[in-house]
């Protein structure tokens, strides 16, 4: 298991490194954070040159990447490019990690809701295929699935925002305040996901419930609930975890839209802000952090898969 974990981690690390390289080079070449100075001519030239020298903007791109990469280990992601040479510089790290913590809270809450309800709904409909309950859950799944999350978010905000109980600001404070800020965004993000994943769980559970081992478990006199949740579910989770890890980047993307609608001050705002400023350092930092989060999640889900189905660890044929 340890060897398997190390292999997956090395693979993920190589991906994050590649992301940082591609992101830094392409943003470094295409975004000009000093674009403002182009409009004011000669009088801004000293400022522009000072900033360009400070951020090495005129050096060859590979040299800049090397500087950035070695700087990463000494002083993190460095500074945002300030609007003028005299204004104080802001470090990227604090605002990045504040935004990341908001986004992470949102995604974690939504994932917990998603996994719990997908399993409940999926197994419930697999145990009663073709019944009214199954059909209703299926219809509901399709409708929530088809609503883009930003649409779900604005509909929820429109319907429930007027009650005044829900807060449209960054999460924080006590438990109750946290719930007041987090409830709607987490539900908006997870509704669509529950729609998709409950279908996957249902399909997989239905297959597993007809496998010989399930029949044997029933023949031993186990209750149907025990067969469904103790025996079939573990095998039914294998495709689910695989798909969840593939979709995780898309979930991060969706969380940005939700974050934006509910004014949570997460990565969406940092991203849009950096885009506005055309700041290649801010953008690279965001991309690398998002990539790293997704990569870590992928490694974790690989490990979970290896635990659920030991054959996957060794690469044995399935």
């Amino acid at each position: 298991m340890l060897g398997y974990a190390l292999r997956r981690a090395t693979f993920a690390l190589s991906l994050v490194w590649a992301v940082s390289f591609v992101a830094f080079v392409s943003f470094g070449l295409s975004f000009d954070p000093l674009y403002r100075f182009n409009f004011c001519g000669e009088q801004c030239r000293p400022q522009k040159e000072a900033l360009a020298a400070r951020f090495h903007l005129d050096d060859p791109i590979l040299e800049r990447y090397w500087l950035w990469l070695s700087g990463l280990f000494h002083h993190g992601f460095g500074d945002f490019v300030p609007p003028s040479a005299t204004s104080p510089s802001t470090a990227i790290d604090p605002s990045l990690f504040r935004a990341l913590s908001v986004s992470a809270q949102l995604m974690a809450t939504a994932l917990v809701l998603t996994v719990a309800f997908s399993i409940l709904i999926g197994v419930a409909s697999a145990r009663r295929p073709g019944t009214l309950v199954d059909v209703m859950l299926r219809l509901l799944a399709y409708v929530t699935w088809a609503m883009p999350a930003f649409l779900t978010a604005i509909v929820l905000a429109r319907l429930l925002g007027g009650t005044g109980w829900f807060l449209f600001r960054p999460p924080g404070g006590g438990v109750v305040t946290w719930i007041r800020t987090m409830a709607l965004p987490a539900v908006a993000l997870s509704l669509g996901l529950i729609g998709v994943y409950s279908r996957y769980i249902r399909t997989a559970s239905l297959t597993e419930l007809h496998q010989p081992y399930a029949v044997v478990a029933r023949a031993k006199g186990l209750s149907e609930r025990r067969v469904a949740y103790r025996h079939a579910l573990r095998n039914a989770l294998v495709p689910f975890v695989g798909i969840l890890s593939l979709d995780f980047a898309a979930i991060v993307g969706t969380s940005l839209a939700v974050d934006y609608v509910f004014h949570m001050g997460g990565l969406a705002f940092l991203l849009l802000g950096s885009l506005q400023e055309a700041d290649p350092f801010g953008l690279t930092a965001i991309i690398v952090v998002v990539g790293a989060v997704v990569a870590v999640f992928t490694v974790l889900s690989d490990l979970a898969l290896g635990w659920l189905d030991p054959r996957l660890r060794t690469g044995a044929s399935t």
Binding site: T203, V252, Y260, H263, I286, V290, V294
Partner: protein, 319 residues
């Protein structure tokens, strides 16, 4: 879905056999069988009809629209009219004095054609990459796997926003084209998986033993058997690209000309005219956001239902 589809399949074939005699069933080709199975899924048929209606509207939108996209009705500026049968504005007008029906038709055109173009391009790229990885295996396959893993860890939405941000006035096809460079991985994965499964089947070995060339195996055996997978994955990409493009335009990026609206853009306009932070749309006239929201939802539901039905119909039994 799959397991049930398998059961249905057996039941369906038995019923068909009872009706028309076993021999006729046996003689049917796989496509005809799929068509027969499709006909028995009313939801799938509805989804197909709705999708086709969207495509027709998208293609003929310039002819269907009662006004040109740029035409303004000055007396309705800041006085949006509700939908009504009289007065020449079937779906009302918006805050800027546009005819809403015209706006909606152009938005549907933008959304549907963009999604279809994106799906087509993504399917072609995914097919090529997936086929190469799945057929040759080995180091080439590992390289392809690494590349897809690399693409998959960055959210498509983020890339789209960045690409769009750095060259503001982009041509209309830039969104779908960028997205196609992204969404092909889903097709590639499906094709690769299907090729790998097929490659070890007995009929391929038999063909190899009979001296078939690689090209023969790929084009004669592997591709025809993977067409179902390809079609399902391609249809799913239509849905994905619709969602992502709508979200990106909702963020306010991308195509912002008011005579070439998008569904996400219409929603964004409807939301931004109000106290957005407290409650979006609080004082927006309902037709300005309900119409694009429902249209967008309907198209995506139809596409997903279609993909799902195709999945059940084309691949009734899986290894």
């Amino acid at each position: 879905m799959r397991a049930r589809a398998g059961l249905d399949e057996r039941r369906g074939l038995a019923a068909a056999a009872a009706r028309s005699g076993v021999d006729r069933v046996r003689r049917r080709g796989p496509w005809l069988q799929a068509a027969v199975r499709f006909r028995r899924r009313p939801l799938g048929i509805v989804a197909l009809l709705v999708t086709m209606a969207f495509v027709v509207i998208a293609v003929f939108a310039p002819r269907l629209a009662p006004y040109t996209g740029a035409q303004l009705f000055f007396r309705f500026i800041n006085d949006p009219q509700p939908p009504s049968l009289h007065g020449g504005h079937l779906l009302g007008t918006d805050v800027l004095g546009h005819d809403m029906l015209t706006q909606m038709l152009w938005a549907v055109r933008e959304t549907v054609l963009g999604a279809l173009g994106c799906a087509l391009a993504a399917t072609l790229i995914g097919l090529a990459v997936g086929a190469v990885g799945g057929y040759f295996g080995g180091a080439l396959d590992s390289a392809v796997q690494w590349l897809t893993s690399l693409v998959v860890i960055i959210p498509a939405l983020v890339v789209l926003l960045m690409v769009v941000a750095f060259e503001a006035p982009l041509p209309l096809w830039a969104f779908p084209a960028t997205l196609a460079l992204y969404l092909w991985i889903h097709v590639a994965r499906a094709v690769r998986g299907s090729f790998i499964t097929l490659r070890h089947r007995e009929f391929i070995e038999a063909s190899l033993a009979a001296g078939a060339s690689g090209r023969w195996i790929v084009f004669r055996h592997l591709l025809p058997n993977a067409v179902g997978t390809l079609l399902v994955a391609g249809t799913a990409v239509v849905g994905q690209s619709t969602v992502i493009i709508a979200t990106a335009t909702f963020f306010g990026y991308g195509n912002q000309q008011t005579d070439r609206p998008t569904l996400g853009g219409l929603l964004s306009n409807a939301a931004s005219g109000t106290q957005f932070a407290i409650s979006p749309f609080a004082s927006t006239p309902w037709w300005l956001w309900v119409l694009p929201a429902v249209t967008l939802g309907l198209f995506i539901v139809a596409i997903y239902f279609l993909a799902d039905t195709l999945d059940e119909v084309l691949q009734p039994v899986r290894a």
